[in-house]
């Protein structure tokens, strides 16, 4: 090791005695090990994840929903493209079923319209004076493949709308979705408000009618046995390593 603080190492190298080869070799080893190790860990994890037991969820498809008003629905931009909003608004019939994705693509088009909406209640139903708030998702996990438990049909984020359920409606909901459980799927009819004054200008549907289309379903996540075995082995190894390092540290 030299102390010359120069970036032009190659120019100076000739005038120096070469670093001892043994030490250089050790540096290389110290660099290669972590890279190889990391690669092995990543490959192992990927293999482990691929070995996870899978579950079939065809019985979670919600059927008999009214068709969507538009598919997929155009985007508009407030201010610079208000005509698109007007055009969309013109073709939505009263009470037609909308999807959350459609609405987000052009909220102005649906403001104040009477619509239908179907989806799964997730999280919890939050009771307030005169009713309750519910988050109702209409994504693929809610209506088609069920919660991401034991299967790998990934389809992106959850999407859904906030729904206000007045007293008399929210009592019909038995369970909301959470890990390992698809909540009640409900079909509602109500008024879509782009800036609901009772929700701090949030986008909501104020439901007037509610029907539970599908009851909640609990899905067992099958135990991933290979993962359990790997966990036990690694945990033992780690415990051993920690004990060993404590012993070494006392000596150090």
């Amino acid at each position: 090791m030299s102390n010359t603080p120069s970036p032009f190492r190659h120019r100076r190298r000739r005038n120096q005695t070469p670093t001892p080869p043994r030490r250089r070799g050790r540096t290389r080893w110290l660099l290669i090990t972590p890279i190889v190790g990391l690669t092995l860990i990543v490959l192992g994890i990927v293999a482990l994840e691929a070995a996870a037991p899978q579950v079939d969820t065809p019985d979670l498809v919600v059927e008999d929903l009214p068709p969507l008003a538009l598919e997929p629905g155009r985007s508009c931009t407030r201010q610079t493209d208000d005509t698109t909003a007007a055009e969309i608004r013109a073709v939505i019939l009263p009470g037609a079923r909308v999807s959350s994705t459609q609405v987000f693509r052009c909220p102005a088009a649906y403001d104040g319209l009477e619509v239908s909406y179907a989806g799964e209640v997730v999280g919890e139903v939050l009771p307030r004076d005169g009713g309750a708030w519910a988050q109702v998702n209409d994504d693929i996990y809610a209506l088609r493949v069920g919660p991401l438990v034991g299967h790998r049909e990934l389809d992106g984020f959850n999407t859904g709308l906030s729904v206000w359920l007045p007293d008399g409606l929210h009592e019909q909901i038995e369970e909301a979705g959470r890990a390992g459980r698809r909540g009640d799927v409900i079909l509602i009819r109500g008024t879509l408000l782009r800036t609901d004054p009772d929700d701090g200008a949030g986008l909501t549907i104020r439901a007037e009618e509610l029907e539970v289309v599908a009851p909640s379903v609990t899905i067992e996540d099958p135990l991933h046995v290979p993962q359990l075995i790997v966990a036990i082995v690694l945990a033992l190894l780690a415990t051993g390593a920690i004990v060993w390092s404590r012993i070494v540290a006392r000596r150090f």
Binding site: L30, T77, L148, N158, P197, L234, S245
Partner: protein
């Protein structure tokens, strides 16, 4: 640094990185225990695997590479830069095992996003995610925000003095107490106080929002981590929309503001010196820019007709702005509606606020108010110099704890980092445009959001996003958190290593 590093240097770095992994392993034990408690067995085994790997490697490096060699400044930089990278890789392991990410890159994105307190998420089906996974995601923000690196090192390393250098390289250069350990303890005291008070306040607000006590506590703790550490992850995909509660939003806003205050200003408040806060260049810059941006946001939202009530301007406009300035990323709107329903001006103002970000020496990201303030003072200084005869001495001062004279090196450092941030924002936006799926509003918004570790999303970041763009965003989060210097140091180090290796080969 231009010295060709030898085996000793590599051992030293490995030793400290091992310490970081030990810390991360301990963090992972928390969700492992919770998973067992709530009988989420697959999650439990995943966290045991992650924790075991971290602890195993940490313990081995601890035993094999133990050294009393002092840390140099260069070592500190390299360790910090690598710690965030390797930390994110290991943190991603249990995430990937959850089966909620399409590929390891997405899991790495999520882990880096949590550790850097960015809070952008690419998790599939968040609303049905096991409790252990949720807790872990939120805990990562706390670990990253309170500086896993520093904390771990300050706990594990024998003496505090030699790790103080790490503290500096993580861009938190304002040492508020002479002793490093005392500084760390103060930071913990502040975080602890806020943890208790903030969680309690959130608990009450959530109870009144209709939650059962158990769920209220669960949400309160997660929300606290996401807000005070300016992270921005959420338990539900709908983020703040889920709560439908002004009270919750107010507590969260206060926590976000607390999170973006620098430790120095927390110290001043703690000691009952509020005047120090109002005079501080960073507080002033943030107050002025935020007021201006809020005015523009309000004008934009009113003009576009998005909101026409005070309610809308405060609960949507102001909240989003605070979320952006504090670099938290909680959303009160669905991302896509910024594009479709916010007009053109308000999103631009949000981008501006995100680019500046919060205060240095906090968990906030972005260019940082202090740099913007100093760059502005530098401009004023240069203009004054133009206006005065050459012989005149121009002195510009600013307040930062005490009255300071603006020195050339300070100016230079501030503008250099500012420019680097701007260039990164633009390059990130350019890469986004390469895909052709997004327009410039979207790519600029998202690039600034990840580059500043904010986490407000206009919809580009999603589980299905192009993988190349995802890799670029991971890089931007890492660069933004480290504020470039440590990364450059790492690159220089690798370069000298490679040169050394090339000769030996």
């Amino acid at each position: 640094m231009a010295l060709r590093p030898g085996a000793d240097d590599v051992r030293l770095i490995a030793f400290y990185l091992g310490k970081v992994l030990l810390g991360l392993g301990l963090v992972m034990l928390v969700p492992a225990v919770i998973a067992v408690a709530v009988q989420e067995w697959n999650a439990a085994t995943a966290y045991v695997i992650g924790a075991s790997l971290c602890l195993l490697i940490g313990a081995v490096s601890d035993a094999r590479f133990a050294t009393r060699r002092p840390l140099t400044w260069a070592h500190g930089m390299v360790i910090v830069a690598l710690a965030w990278l390797i930390g994110a890789v290991f943190a991603a392991i249990p995430m990937y095992l959850s089966g909620r990410f399409g590929d390891p890159l997405a899991a790495l994105f999520e882990a880096m996003s949590g550790l850097t307190t960015t809070g952008m998420s690419v998790i599939n089906d968040l609303d049905h995610t096991p409790i252990a996974d949720d807790v872990y995601r939120h805990l990562l923000q706390f670990a990253g925000g309170q500086g896993i690196v520093i904390v771990v090192l300050s706990l594990f390393a024998a003496g505090g003095s030699r790790v103080a250098t790490l503290y500096v390289s993580e861009a938190r250069d304002e040492r508020i107490l002479p002793n490093f350990i005392r500084t760390a303890r103060f930071i913990f005291a502040v975080a602890g106080t806020f943890l208790v008070l903030g969680t309690a306040a959130l608990f009450v607000a959530l109870l009144s929002a209709g939650f059962t006590p158990g769920r209220a506590l669960y949400h309160a703790i997660n929300l606290f981590f996401a807000s005070f550490d300016t992270g921005g992850f959420s338990v539900m995909q709908s983020s703040m929309i889920y709560y439908h509660s002004f009270a919750v939003e107010i507590v969260v806003m206060l926590l976000m503001i607390a999170g973006t205050l620098s430790f120095g200003l927390h110290f001043a408040l703690w000691r009952g010196r509020p005047r120090d806060v109002f005079r501080h260049i960073e507080a002033r810059t943030l107050a002025i820019t935020s007021t201006l941006f809020f005015a523009v946001v309000c004008f934009g939202l009113l003009r576009a007709g998005t909101y026409d009530t005070l309610d809308g301007l405060v609960r949507k406009g102001l909240f989003t702005l605070v979320s952006a300035v504090s670099s938290t990323g909680h959303q009160v709107n669905v991302g896509e509606t910024y594009l479709t329903d916010w007009g053109v001006l308000a999103p631009a103002a949000i981008v501006g606020a995100m680019a500046i970000g919060g205060m240095a020496s906090s968990t906030a990201g972005g260019i940082k108010a202090v740099r913007v303030g100093i760059a502005f003072k530098t401009l004023l200084h240069d203009v004054k110099k133009i206006l005065l005869p050459e012989s005149a001495l121009v002195v510009t001062t600013y307040h930062a704890g005490k009255r300071r004279i603006l020195r050339d090196e300070t100016s230079r450092a501030a503008t250099t980092i500012l420019l680097l941030f701007v260039v990164t924002y633009l390059l990130g936006a350019m890469v986004g445009l390469l895909y052709g799926e997004f327009d410039i509003t979207q790519t600029l918004f998202e690039s600034v959001s990840v580059g500043s570790n904010i986490g407000v999303s206009i919809g580009v970041v999603s589980p299905e996003m192009p993988r190349g763009l995802m890799a670029v965003y991971i890089l931007q989060m890492w660069l933004g958190r480290l504020e470039y210097v440590a990364v450059f140091a790492l690159l220089g180090y690798l370069f000298s290593l490679a040169r050394g290796q090339a000769k030996a080969a």
